[in-house]
Each structure stands twice: as C-alpha cells, then as structure tokens.
C-alpha cells in the first residue's frame, strides 16, 4: 500500500525545463497516470525527477537530473508539478544514509573529497556504477558505515573522513508542539513510513492539503495540523493509522513569557494564538476550566507539553489553531466555547488624511487602503475589472490610483486594490472630526418583493 510518490518531493506549479543542449535527455511517457509515472521513474536507473503535466491531459516526462541549477531550470507552470527523488534533494540523511545522493563533497573537517573513480591519493576498491551512486566526489555511504556518508579525502595524510551530514530528525528542530515544523522527516518514531497527506489510502483522513494551506501538509512529511503534542503522520501500515514522529526539540532558551512582541492582552489578532489576556469566562458568564486540571472535562492540552501556548490558569487561549481563543468550561454539559466576546484588535493602519461629509469631493493623494494595500489605478483593469472608472465618472477626478468616492459611498473614499483577493476597499482616510451624517427617521411604507417570505404554518412534522 506504499505509493511510489513517497520517494518524491513535489513542487506544485513548477516545471523543470532542461537547457537547450540536453533537452533530448528528457523522456516523454504518454498515457501514464501520476502513480505510474512515479513508479516507472523509481524503476529507471537514470530517472531522478519528472514533470507531470496535469492539464490538458496527464503527461509524464522523466528527467535524469534534479533542479541543481546546472542542467535545467525550474520554471513556473500552473499546469505542471515537479517531482524530484528525495534522496537527490534532501540535505539530511535517514538512518545510516546509505541512500544519500546529495552533493556535499567536503568532510567534517573541511577536507575536499577524492573522486570515487580515482585511486589517488588513496587507493580503494570502490568502483562507480549507475546503481551505487558513487558520483564524482560526493559524500556517500557504500559500506553502511554507522556514522553515515563519508569519502576518501584529497589529503594524503587523511585517508577518509565522515562528512557530518545531519540526520533529518536533527536538521530541523521543533519548538513547543512542533506545529511550525516544516522539515523532511517522513518516518514515524517506530520507523513506519508516512502516508502522503494528499492521498486517502491506506487511511482516509480529513487533513487534505488544499483545505489546510497554513499547515504545509507537503508530501508525506511529518506535520502537526491538529495541535497534537508533537508532529505526526498517517502511516503506510494499514494496521497503524497514525503515529508520532521522532524529531529533536530545539534547545534554545524559550522567549520569556509575555515578552514576544506579537502577544496581545486586551484584544486578539487573527485566530488569537498570541492572545495572553485574562478573560476566563464565556460570553454567557460561565467560568472556564483551568488548563491544568482534567475536571469536568478531560483534555490533551497539558500546560507543560504546550509550554509556549500560555495555558495559564483558566484564561481563554488558542493552543490548536481554532477560529479564536477558547476554553473548556466549568459546566459538564458544555465542553468548549469560543471566547468571541474578546474584542478583535483593530488592524487598520493609521489614517493619513481626512475627508468631509462622505468624501465625494476628496481630492487628496492617499493611495492606500485601510489595510495598507496599494490602490489599483482607476484606468487599468488588472487585477480587477473596473465598473467605475474615468470613462464612467468623468468628473470624479479619478486620477492615478488616488482614493476617491465617485459613487458617493456613505463610508468614505475607496479604491480598487492591487490585492487580487480584495476587489475594493476603503482607504486609510478618516472623516474629519465632528462630522456625522444623521440616520433617517422612520420611512413610511416600504415595498419589498421576492424576499423575506416565510411559511409560518405550524410545522410539527419537521422535527424528528
């Protein structure tokens, strides 16, 4: 049940384009699906990577090299994904590193390695072949040396030396519960291989990479999308759904409590992971349960395991990436509650100007939205097609990308933005002091159509 893709590191939307003089070495394999393309490459001795073009139809192109800047160049291509054999791109080793195929060629003490094909200055019995990876003078471990990849050195005084290539589990360490880990460990603590996150076999799961872009669920690397105590992965063993990974903890001294600049105490930003305030009850006034006890609700968020989550007392916190700070409540019937009564921090930038009334006559030169995004020019149509522009509103002074209010928006000057996700937004301009447009009093009869209709007959049949 192991996928051949487990041997590869995927680069989404990338294509490895060979240089003109060795394009012929690329091998087209039409009609293969992604899994077949990968297994063919794994079986082929000189295939180290492949481009898989998703659109218009699946096209597999095997390549004899990886993106090392000399034989080929990585280019953006939204219709293509690049898969490179991990052993050629990894900068660390798993186990004794017998499959290491990286390009380090100096030893621990900085000596340059001797070419494997050469018998000088040190004679030896190893002969390079297409399968044993003894390439040029790269560090390798042909004899399964316990220390890891090594090489003969060019120093006549020193026959051979280890190259000190780190273990993947030490190459990138984890802080706290490792939710920020982006390293390349792809085996669990008991040595089981990890399942790819973008596959549903042998184990079905909810952590699909496209649903959790912030969790970097790449390939089959250990990750921590659900605030477990340490990074983990689903395994390729049908009998073991998931297992923790053995990754070194960082040894640097943790930042003293309450000192990280992003901590907030009387409001929260984003999902509130950095909220360190003292709200300790629900909006309805129910006290929160202390984090360091298990009554009335048993839970996995033990303060000293999640030491950087600020799980003090019974304060609302967000140790697991939920929508906002939350807590376990002190009533058995209600396990958790979001503390949405805590204010969100205002994230508007400082206003740079002010406008009168509704700003229809504003002619200033602010060209930034309230979030600090640069405005799009009124007379262009990228990234947003403009419905309101100098042609449709000739005397609204829609010049450059200055904030304006051509449609008399009650909420002030605005602009189209250069952020593709935000079509338009209000500007970093506030109303000049003391100016308020009064609300209208009761309007007589108002006609509505096609809305607000409801079948108010009693509906006992709707309830189970």
């Amino acid at each position: 049940l192991r996928s051949s893709l487990n041997d590869y590191q995927r680069s989404e939307g990338r294509e490895l384009v060979p240089t003109a003089w060795n394009a012929a070495r690329m091998q087209m394999l039409p009609g293969l699906n992604l899994e077949e393309c990968a297994s063919r490459c794994s079986q082929s001795q000189d295939c180290r990577a492949f481009n898989y073009e998703i659109r218009p139809i699946g096209t597999c192109k095997h390549l004899p090299w990886v993106a090392d800047g000399s034989n080929a160049e990585v280019k953006r291509n939204v219709n293509c994904d690049l898969y490179e054999k991990k052993v050629y791109v990894r900068k660390c080793i798993v186990g004794k590193g017998e499959d290491y195929r990286g390009k380090v060629f100096t030893t621990k003490s900085g000596l340059t390695c001797q070419q494997w094909w050469s018998k000088f200055p040190h004679d030896h019995r190893w002969t390079p072949s297409p399968t044993n990876g003894l390439e040029l003078n790269y560090c390798r471990n042909p004899d399964g040396d316990r220390i890891g990849p090594w090489c003969y050195t060019t120093d006549p005084e020193r026959r051979y030396e280890s190259c000190n290539i780190p273990q993947c589990k030490d190459e990138v360490c984890i802080t706290c519960n490792g939710e920020d880990y982006r390293g390349q460990v792809d085996h669990t603590e008991s040595g089981k291989e990890c399942q790819r996150w973008d596959q549903q076999f042998p184990h079905q799961h909810i952590y699909q990479p496209e649903k959790y872009p912030d969790k970097s669920l790449d390939d089959n690397y250990c990750r921590n999308p659900d605030a477990s105590p340490v990074p983990w992965c689903y395994t390729t063993d049908p009998e073991t759904e998931r297992e923790s990974c053995d990754i070194s903890k960082c040894t640097e001294v943790l930042v003293e409590k309450g000192q990280r600049s992003s901590f907030t105490t009387n409001c929260f930003r984003g999902r509130g992971e950095d909220y360190r305030g003292k709200v300790n009850e629900t909006a309805s006034g129910i006290p929160c349960q202390r984090w360091d006890i298990q009554v009335p609700h048993r839970h996995p968020f033990i303060p000293n395991i999640y030491e950087c989550k600020g799980l003090e007392e019974n304060y609302c916190r967000n140790p697991d990436g939920s929508e906002a700070p939350w807590c376990f409540t002190s009533v058995p019937e209600m396990r958790t509650v979001l503390c949405l009564q805590i204010k969100r921090c205002a994230d508007d930038i400082e206003a740079e100007d002010c406008y009168h009334e509704n700003g229809k006559n504003y002619r200033g030169v602010v060209r930034k939205t309230r979030k600090g995004i640069t405005c799009q020019k009124w007379n262009v149509n990228t990234p947003h097609q403009t419905r309101i522009n100098p042609r449709t509103h000739p005397d609204a002074n829609l010049t450059e990308n200055y904030c304006r209010n051509p449609d008399g928006d009650q909420h002030g000057p605005w602009c189209y933005t250069t952020d593709p996700k935000t079509e338009f937004d209000y500007c970093a301009i506030k109303q000049c002091a003391g100016e308020k447009v009064p609300l209208t009093e009761t309007v007589e009869t108002v006609e509505f159509s096609e809305c607000g209709k409801r079948d108010d007959r009693p509906q006992p049949t709707r309830l189970r």
Binding site: I206, V337, D348, H411, C451, G452
Partner: protein, 227 residues
Amino acid sequence: IVNGIPGNSPWTVSLRDRKGNHFCGGSMVNPRWVISTKQCFSSCYVDLPGYSAMMGTLFRDPQEGEPGVQTIPLTKIVCGPSESQLVMLQLEYPAQFNERVSQICLPPERYIVPEHTKCEIAGWGETRGTGDETVLNVAHVPVISNTECNKYFRGRVRENEMCTNSFQAGVGACEKDYGGPLACQNADCWVLEGVIIPMRRCGHPGQPNIFIRVSVYVDWIKKVMEM
C-alpha cells in the same frame, strides 16, 4: 439562543469550519451572498478553504442525505466598513431557494426601525439549558430605541447599533449565534434589521440585546454584490 423555541427561519444559515462544525450564524441576502459578523473570522484577506454555509435544515447536525440540506463552500470574504463589524461571504455557487431556503429583505438605507416592531433572532448556538441546541431556535424580541437602550448601557450604544428588549426572563443570543439575523416584520415580509454580535452575558434578565444596525451599511452590501 437563550429562552427561544424551535422554529423556522429560512434565511438563517449555519457557518461551518474546516472540520464541518457549526461555529457561527449568517443571513442569506441573495442567492450567492451571506452576511455575518467579522468577529467570527480571523481575517478578510485570506482564502476560506474548507469553510462552508449550510442551509435548508432545522438541525444543527443533519444526518447524511437529509433532504433539502444545501452545504455550499465559501469562496470569498469581504470586510465591511471598519466600525461595521460586518462581513459578506460569497458562496461558490447560488443557493437554491425553496420553502426551506429564502433570502431576507434588506432595509432602506439608514432606516431606523420603529420601537416595538416585532422582531426575532435565530441560531443554533448555546441555549444555556433553556432549549434544545440540536435544532434551530428562534426568539421573539421587540425593538427598543437607542435612547431607551442607552439608559441601561450608559450611553455606549452607538448610532450604527440597535437594541431589542430582553424581558425579565432574559432572552438573547449566545455563543455560536453570532453573525445570525435580527429579522423584523414589515407587512408580510421579514427584513434584516440587525446582525447578532457578541455581548458580555447571554440573555441576561433585563439586559437589552445589541445588534449592528444593518440599514447603515445597506449601500456597502449592495455595492459588494454589484461589484
């Protein structure tokens, strides 16, 4: 909803997080757009992968294959003017309107809904033991003027907010109702006059409920839908 009763509110939608859990309410104002409160969302400048709106059912967790349920992914979030605490959520495709799913009317711009107008709030949120949280609860609440409301809140209620009475028994919205509607009757139609925002205390006896006054932002709402 504290001290509500199971009821029908076809424009009320349930907003679902990436694990499919209900976390906030919203109101359908057109086949592709839902209004809710900014308080429920970490940012307006990110994608919403995995989030969705569920409508067409009275049950918070309808069974697989329950007829009439529509679960539509959210594809865009637009923040309202800064003090509005509102967001507009775009659905990946239009909702199908039927007797279980309909859109609510928007009030005239800057309209003040008269005192004592008959209104209701709806949601699948916390009931504090006064009801069944597995079904949609609706509570009837009459409008009170801001002047009246400010007597209780000592002048802190702003013009872009509005209030309803909570009676002595205490009626009001609570956790996971936020973003849901305050719908008021106008002739034979229901109009979205307010959006539920978090308050300190839920359905506290004698404490009025505060909502964002939608009529102040109708121009922005229409502009977003047009643009």
